[in-house]
Each structure stands twice: as structure tokens, then as C-alpha cells.
């Protein structure tokens, strides 16, 4: 069975208290656990124990966790990854809080991803019995769930090949230099039915561009923007729309400078989706459809 979804993002933050305030009060995540300089957070519409881990010290990405369906699937992926030539190690149950065993992989771009089958079930805040559409006591931007991450790689094509050959991800959208002699600058890949679960753009190996949360509609995006202003959040771009994925968005930074996104919209992908191509000369429109201009921060800020 395919990889399910991005299960967790683990990032470094310079100031744990400021970060906890951002992810919990501004974004509305719930603090599930605090221990050893790490805080574990969960969004209201997620089932698993946590989706974001913030760790005190430094900035940037520690690792991404992708959930898979079964141990058999994990073993099959492991074989393919080893055949690809990436370095892997088995991780045991409990190495990550409330998380079962799995596989840790170092990508060609030096990012660490973990494939896991199991995390403690907590349930959504609305529940599964005659539920309300949203929780009455939601805070701030009230992000629904973790949606995707975008990372930087010196060789995006190689990382695309990894996700494709090892994990059956497919590209929904690709950004190339010149269609006649295309060098891959960016790729947006999915494992389910959304526009992307992982994306890779040309940039320094090991770095994070952003990770994103799902909101339901343009109104929620605007409300999030208002909350960001109330909470003195540094805004990168938005509210606006992407050409790539059609998604509506705000990019912003946490108190340590890690970029976050609130995102909604897009289209349905799936195994028979026809890949969309963007050419570099239209990259402004691809990234920011309305202004059709790249801002400097979007292409220079990585953590």
C-alpha cells in the first residue's frame, strides 16, 4: 500500500518558550508532552499523538516522519531504499515518543526521513461520535493538520528519483529551466490524493524551506493572517495564491526563523494524475500567481 502521509516534522528552535507560544497559542496546536528540551504538539483534526516536535537549540529541520500502513510495506520499502543506495537504519519502538518501530533513511540531500507504522492513537478534538465540525475552544489560527513539507537539495532530480523509485511518490508539478533542455529546479510529489506530501527545490542540502498546515478555505487563511498580526508573527508572503498547486496560502516564520505555511485548496491527484510543468520564465506566477513576482525572502530564506 502507498505511503500514507507526512506524519511528523521535528524542528530545532532557538527559544523553546517562544516557539511553544507560537505553535500552541498562535497556530492553535495542543501541547501533548514536554520532556528533555522537546515539546510535542498535535493539531485538532489529527488522530495520532503528535505531528510537530520542537527541540531547543539551533534552527532548522531534524527530520520528517512519513507514516506507512504496515510492517510488510515497511520491509518492502526498506529493500527498495537499500537498492537505491541510500543509508538506512532500523529504529526501535519508543525511540521516538509514543511511536512504534520503523526505518530511518538519509536522503541524497542529507535530510533524515523516518518511515513509521504506528503512533499512539489519541483522536481528533471533535471525536468520532456525532461530532461538531470544529472544536469550540480552538485557539488562534486553529490549524487542522500537518499537510506537507518543502526541503532544499543541491540535486532536486536525485531526490525526486529517490521518492519515486523507493516510495512510489509521483510528481504533481515540476519546475524546469527550459522545456527543451529541462533541468529540474523543483518538484512537488504526492503519495495520496493531495497536490503534494513532499516538495524539493534547488537550494542548500539538508535545509528546510517550510512545512505547512491545512486550513479549510480562504476565510480561514485570512483569519490566520489576522491572528499572525495580533501575535507579531513575521510574514513572508500572503495571503495569496500559488500557481503551482492552485493553493491559497500565507508563508510566515516561527520565532526562530523556521518558515511555516497555512495552505488550502489545490486539486485531486491520485495514481493516474498528469504531471504539470512550469517553466522557469513563469516561476513568479508559479509561486505567487497574483503578483507574478518572487520576493527575495522566498528564494533565500532556508533554515
Amino acid at each position: 500500500m502507498p505511503v500514507m502521509r507526512l506524519g511528523y516534522v521535528h524542528v530545532r528552535v532557538t527559544d523553546l518558550d517562544a516557539a511553544m507560544n507560537h505553535y500552541s497559542n498562535t497556530l492553535g496546536m495542543k501541547v501533548m508532552h514536554q520532556e528533555g528540551g522537546k515539546v510535542y504538539l498535535k493539531s485538532w483534526d489529527e488522530q495520532d499523538h503528535h505531528s510537530v516536535v520542537i527541540e531547543e537549540g539551533g534552527v532548522g529541520l531534524v527530520k520528517l516522519g512519513y507514516k506507512v500502513t504496515s510492517s510488510d510495506d515497511l520491509a518492502a520499502f526498506e529493500k527498495r531504499i537499500q537498492q537505491f543506495g541510500a543509508s538506512t537504519e532500523r529504529m526501535s519502538s519508543g525511540e521516538n515518543l509514543k511511536t512504534g518501530d520503523g526505518l530511518r533513511v538519509v536522503l541524497p540531500s542529507e535530510h533524515v526521513i523516518e518511515l513509521f507504522t504506528d503512533m499512539e492513537y489519541v483522536g481528533t478534538e471533535t471525536g468520532t461520535l456525532n461530532p461538531d465540525p470544529w472544536p469550540r475552544d480552538s485557539r488562534g489560527a486553529a490549524v487542522h493538520r500537518l499537510d506537507h513539507a518543502l526541503v532544499a537539495a543541491d540535486d532536486p532530480a536525485l531526490v525526486e528519483r529517490f521518492f519515486s523509485e523507493c516510495l512510489d511518490f509521483r510528481p504533481a508539478e515540476r519546475l524546469v529551466t527550459d522545456p527543451s533542455n529541462p533541468e529540474l529546479i523543483g518538484t512537488w510529489m504526492f503519495c495520496g490524493q493531495t497536490p503534494h506530501d513532499i516538495a524539493v527545490i534547488k537550494g542548500p542540502n539538508g535545509k528546510l524551506h517550510h512545512f505547512a498546515y491545512w486550513l479549510d478555505d480562504w476565510n480561514e487563511i485570512l483569519k490566520a493572517g489576522d491572528v499572525f498580526s495580533m501575535d507579531d508573527v513575521s510574514i513572508d508572503v500572503g495571503p495569496t495564491r500559488h500557481g503551482i498547486t492552485r493553493g491559497k496560502t500565507i508563508y510566515f516564520f516561527d520565532p526562530s526563523g523556521n518558515r511555516n505555511e497555512v495552505f488550502t485548496g489545490g486539486y485531486q491527484t491520485g495514481p493516474d494524475f498528469s504531471t504539470i510543468t512550469w517553466t522557469a520564465d513563469q516561476v513568479g506566477k508559479g509561486i505567487f500567481y497574483i503578483t507574478r513576482e518572487l520576493n527575495e525572502a522566498f528564494t533565500t530564506v532556508f533554515t
Binding site: 527559544d15 539551533g58 534552527v59 513575521s234 516564520f253 530564506v301
Partner: protein, 121 residues
């Protein structure tokens, strides 16, 4: 509130008022100018500049991975988090543009105002 401190921004060579608690970036933006900065939260390193004179402190900690101890010793500053403790001269590493004559004007009037008060004895 009358500014009692100033910041000189090079190479554009303009002088702006410094409000208590403002970072170098905040002072420059308040003065209607823009230069290359990124996250504005001390994580990306894009806004580094060189402190030619004066002292700064970092009330909000900046990671050593972003601004290394060697850089700090070399008087490299992360302008989004560096808060001047004294009058300062800072050399920016990117082009500095006047984007708001409106704000720049207010800043210059503030400087003149504080000079008048200083002179009034």
C-alpha cells in the same frame, strides 16, 4: 518620544534615530529604507551586516549556527536581532533602497527635533 541615539547606515550614509529596544533592522525599516533581509527572526542569516562602531546586544538569543562566535568576534551582526546599546555605525552587505520618503521624512524630523532639545540650554 525623542530619540537619544542614532544609527548611521553605510554605504548609503544616512543617519536615522534609534528607538529604545529597536533592532538595527527595525530602525532601518522605521526610517523608510529597505535592504536584503529574510525571516526577521534570527534563523536564516540573510540580514547580516558589519558593525563599524558601537555596541549591540541580543536580548533574543541567536543560534551559533546562524551567527558564529568567530563572526561575533569580527563584529558581524544579525541586524534583525541585534539591539544597539549605543550610537552605531553599521555597514550593510546589500543594497539599501529608500522605499518610503514619507517615513524617512518623519525620521529626519525626529533627529532634528532631538538636536533642538539637546541644544536648548
Amino acid at each position: 518620544m525623542t530619540a537619544v541615539q542614532i544609527i548611521r547606515v553605510l554605504p548609503k550614509d544616512v543617519v536615522l534615530p534609534l528607538h529604545s529596544g529597536d533592532s538595527i533592522l527595525a530602525a532601518i525599516v522605521r526610517g523608510g529604507l529597505k535592504y536584503l533581509y529574510g525571516c526577521r527572526r534570527g534563523g536564516c542569516g540573510v540580514c547580516k551586516a558589519d558593525l563599524i562602531s558601537g555596541q549591540v546586544s541580543y536580548p533574543v538569543a541567536v543560534s551559533d549556527t546562524v551567527l558564529t562566535p568567530e563572526e561575533r568576534a569580527d563584529r558581524v551582526v544579525l541586524t534583525c536581532r541585534a539591539v544597539p546599546a549605543t550610537d552605531c555605525t553599521v555597514q550593510l552587505r546589500s543594497q539599501c533602497r529608500l522605499t518610503s520618503p514619507f517615513l524617512y521624512d518623519i525620521a529626519q524630523r525626529e533627529l532634528v527635533g532631538s538636536q533642538d532639545l539637546k541644544g536648548a540650554d
